[in-house]
Symmetry: C2
Subunit: 144 residues, 2 copies
DNA sequence: TTTATTTCGGACAACTTTATCCTATTTGTA
DNA sequence: TACAAATAGGATAAAGTTGTCCGAAATAAA
């Protein structure tokens, strides 16, 4: 469904959010340990998240990654996915046709549309805050 | 969502079904032209479909690919997908956790489960016949 | 039995994604 | 200012997916 990069990106952002809510910056090393991902690759993905204004980075001593507190509630899962995987999940034909719409559908167009719209709706209505709260309360997990 | 191989596989199977319903065998060349896919690669995918008993191949002169007529109605989209992409679409965690279930969920487990179950249901309840009929009647298309 | 036709299957090439490494740049503190 | 601690970013490697090529094997017809 998502690329590996996107999976790491989502988990990393959640971990950063949890720490930012307690005023702690975190390093790629910490992040990759907590979400069980390759460190250097995770660092690359963090760069993309910074460029897309999802998270903030602070260079130099005592630096690290953080998220502004008010952004934790407003950032949606869809924004993270879009920053890393683009809009391929919603757009594009399920069977790879160049043009696939109501007027010129692929054989599974209608059936796919239902599911994709639901996926889109879910991503656009799931906030970083919700996800972070489940980790904080021990209801959900970022690794294993 | 699906791999390229799977997209080609689905379209190829539909095209074979249409022709088998009219007692015609088709070659990889014909297939790849009709579904707009690379010929040699498509041939490889057809081999996989044959091994998985989705389609039948007949070697030698006047040979080609076909599907037994009664199979057209009973074959489900899920079987084609499974033959090529495996069960990764249903199984496996959306965020790549090793174990992700009710007891040890990833942050998006519940939300994903809903969508994946729906996708699974759709694939398991869509028959090759339905898809082929839409192409035959000109309501849907296999290329462009 | 020979020949033409057609799928099968292994080897390999190209491209994309995933992952690593090393140096440059930035920044806080002594 | 010098140093240490961090992220940024380019180069490159490893692995997976996509795609090509060619000879082997099978089969129908002459």
């Amino acid at each position: 469904m998502f690329s590996k990069a996107c999976e790491y990106g989502i988990k990393a952002t959640i971990f950063i959010a949890i720490n930012s809510s307690e005023n702690r910056r975190v390093s790629p090393k910490e992040i990759s340990e907590e979400i069980d991902s390759p460190q250097a690759f995770t660092a690359k993905i963090l760069q993309a998240l910074v460029r897309n204004n999802i998270v903030k980075s602070v260079r130099g001593a005592y630096g690290g990654f953080e998220i502004e507190k008010d952004k934790i509630a407003t950032t949606k899962l869809s924004q993270i996915v879009y920053a890393i995987d683009g809009d391929g999940i919603y757009k594009g034909c399920g069977l790879g046709l160049h043009t696939c719409d109501e007027n010129h559908p692929c054989p599974v167009h209608d059936k796919f549309k239902v599911i994709r719209d639901e996926l889109k709706h879910m991503l656009e209505n799931t906030s970083l805050e919700q996800l972070a709260l489940d980790i904080k309360s021990g209801v959900a997990f970022l690794k294993v």
